[in-house]
């Protein structure tokens, strides 16, 4: 362990020395190039972030800021009925969303990537087919599937009835038991191409010499996948996990399109993004402080967990190498 760290530090120094030696541009030039992006980023990303932190300590009257209220908004989030019930429920739904997406979307993504890697024909075609849905807006995808799953007019139930599986026909998005799983599936349908592309790239990056060596040692395809490819995909798995986590905890469009602003039916599809939206824009006179408080908490949580995940995956990876 210590050897690797020393090694890495040494290389870093090397690189640096080489940079200076080869006549890197002066820092003023570098700064000039960075400045436009930095300004835009600060103005539209960093500044609003700090602003929402600032807002979360104030009371509001419409858009006009009122007096300083300390941590009252944060306290309200967990005590005001029915927010105090909706918030934990929505959080739990985000957790389900994340777990479901990991299990379904990312596992399928890996499977498709592996199958496509092995196939000689139609590779390009299938890659395009699988990635097309994520070019469509989440809202459009949501509406499309809402129509298909409509209990009265939708083709899904009509097909089920037509082939004698009428017993399976149900109001998919109207039954609290099926609504969230259905949304997770639709979301996976839309996004499965994304992990697939990343995994494909990862698989392509694994040297053929490794595979050949394993084959010579008598590894079956399954063993090859389990003991060679999967461990070497760990960095990609880490990336996919973190991006899935961030995406799922910020989920809004697809859930809104399929479950409405209240996460229908009966809050069964409510997620943090919807709670935030309702608090901010349906919350009446004093709404923005409370909503800002929620935004701040969501940011801290998502940022914190993402960081922890990244650290964890890096350690695993180091343990393997």
């Amino acid at each position: 362990m210590t050897a690797t760290t020393a090694n890495r530090a040494g290389k870093k120094k090397d690189k640096h020395a080489k940079g200076v030696g080869s006549g890197a541009p002066p820092w003023t030039v570098i700064a000039l190039f960075i400045l436009p992006a930095f300004l835009l980023y600060t103005l539209f990303m960093v500044w609003p972030l700090f602003q929402s932190l600032y807002f979360s300590f104030f009371e509001f009257k419409g858009l006009a800021r009122g007096g300083f209220v300390g941590l009252r908004n944060f306290h309200e989030l967990f005590t005001r009925y029915p927010l105090n019930e909706q918030l934990p429920r929505a959080f739990l739904h985000n957790v389900y969303f994340f777990i479901g997406t990991m299990l379904i979307q990312n596992t399928l993504g890996l499977l498709f990537a592996r199958l496509l890697y092995a196939s000689r024909f139609g590779k390009r075609f299938f890659q395009i087919v699988y990635t097309t849905p994520y070019l469509i807006s989440a809202l459009v995808v949501g509406y499309l599937w809402s129509l298909m799953l409509n209990p009265l007019f939708g083709p899904v139930n009509q097909v089920l009835k037509a082939i004698g599986l009428g017993a399976l026909a149900r109001p998919w998005l109207g039954d609290p038991a099926t609504a969230l799983p259905v949304i997770i599936l639709v979301n996976a349908w839309q996004w499965v191409g994304f992990p697939m592309l990343l995994f494909s790239a990862g698989l392509a990056g694994i040297g053929d010499d490794l595979r050949e060596a394993a084959r010579i040692d008598g590894a079956t395809s399954l063993k090859l996948f389990r003991y060679i490819e999967l461990p070497l995909l760990l960095p990609v798995i880490g990336i996919v996990t973190v991006l899935t986590f961030i995406g799922n905890f910020n989920a809004f469009g697809i859930v809104w399109a399929m479950g409405g602003v209240n996460g229908e039916p009966a809050g069964a599809t409510d997620v943090l993004g919807l709670v935030f939206y309702r608090t901010a824009f349906r919350g009446g006179v004093d709404a923005f402080g409370l909503a800002s408080a929620l935004a701040v908490l969501m940011f801290i949580f998502i940022f914190g967990v993402s960081m922890i995940m990244l650290g964890r995956f890096r350690r695993w990876e180091e343990d393997l190498t």
Partner: protein, 458 residues
Amino acid sequence: MRTKSVLLVIALVAILAVLAGCAQAPAATQAPAQQKPAATQAPAQEKPTEAPKAEATEAPKAEEKEPVTLTVWSWRTEDEDAYNEIFDVYEKEHPGVTVEFVPFVATDYNNILATGLTGEGGPDVVQLRAYGGLQPLVEAGQLEPLDGKVSTLSNFSPDLLKGATGVKDGHIYGVPFGIQTLAVYYNKGIFDKLGLSEPTTWDEFINVLETLKKNDYIPIAAPAKDTWMLPIIHDTVGAPRYGGPEFEQKVLAGETDFTDPNYVASIQLVKDLQPYMPENVVGVSYQDSRTLFLTERAGMFIGGSFEVGYWRNEGPDLDLGIFRVPPAPDSVIDHPLTPGWMDGSYGVNAKSDAKEEAIKLVEWMGTKEFGQMFTEKIKQLSPVPGTEPKDPLLAQFSKFYEETPASYMLLVDFRYGDPSGTTLLGNGIQKMLLGDMTAEEVAQSLQEGVSQWFQPKK
């Protein structure tokens, strides 16, 4: 080493993504449909919604009249042509004044308006939501108080003006333009075929429902996926059961609350009607339910005067009638009621450059001349006394409201705080229809929710 740098890049991307998410959120970028009953139908429109150019307009002086352009903001994209015709009349009567009607998509309107009123270049005259929906603008000091400045306000009853009043300061901020009322639509063709007539007692009502059901019609095309419709159904069916205006006064005075057995019984009525609603009613959206009624798969639809325009456009051949739900057994009030509310008003931007002219325009909007054109061209009920709707259905709504008025109390009195009464009851009834809550629990939840901000006037 390569993987390490990749991870570093990804970490940066991750931070960026989170920052972006947080940064965008408060900026009101996403905009789900806001399906308030007051907003009537709000179909997505292709109408471009560019911000209106603020024509710098000087306040006109008494001697020389400079041409003035007044900008009117509205959430009714579908009414643009009608409003333009109406304002043409005003322009003809007031030379030198140009009125520009700028509608925005209803779902984004509240946010656009709140922002538009903060700076320069905003509108002069604004369409305002009623009751609780008005308060954020009032409390932010963005509207001009109109009492004492607009003579036509005296045309309206105090009850109506309540919807345009700042709840804290008591000033009036808008001239009411519309009212909405609730009743049951029925398909006359289906009723004739089955030999049914408008029910006048609860037993007859149940008989109508049973007959429709036996003949494979969905008796009531109710949507329970869109929770905002559920308090509407509740009030249309249950107002006499809990006591309508009598109960409203008692609740406001703190003499009783929503856990009152009569109110609980009125919620139970909705559950009792569930067998006559579409199967899996919680999966049925508002649009689905309207389609069921339009396609004659359902015999009745519980709704409001705000749907008349939709039926006329989408089903011009349908022969429709409306009736009031007869009082259920043990009702506190022994006659049917027609719940209604003030739909919205027109007010003046406190920062308008042409305030005087803007006030004159809203004053005109309180006249019978405007009210009559409004009800004829826009097919909504006008609150101006003496206006007569031409559409027979609207005329019927108007007659019902005159005969048996009541407040849709959860909208009128319980939207001043968060959570609102309509939200709580809607969510509660939905859970009741799913079998997850009893009527008592729904009433309890409503009471618990509103009591966090509602103080009865002792």
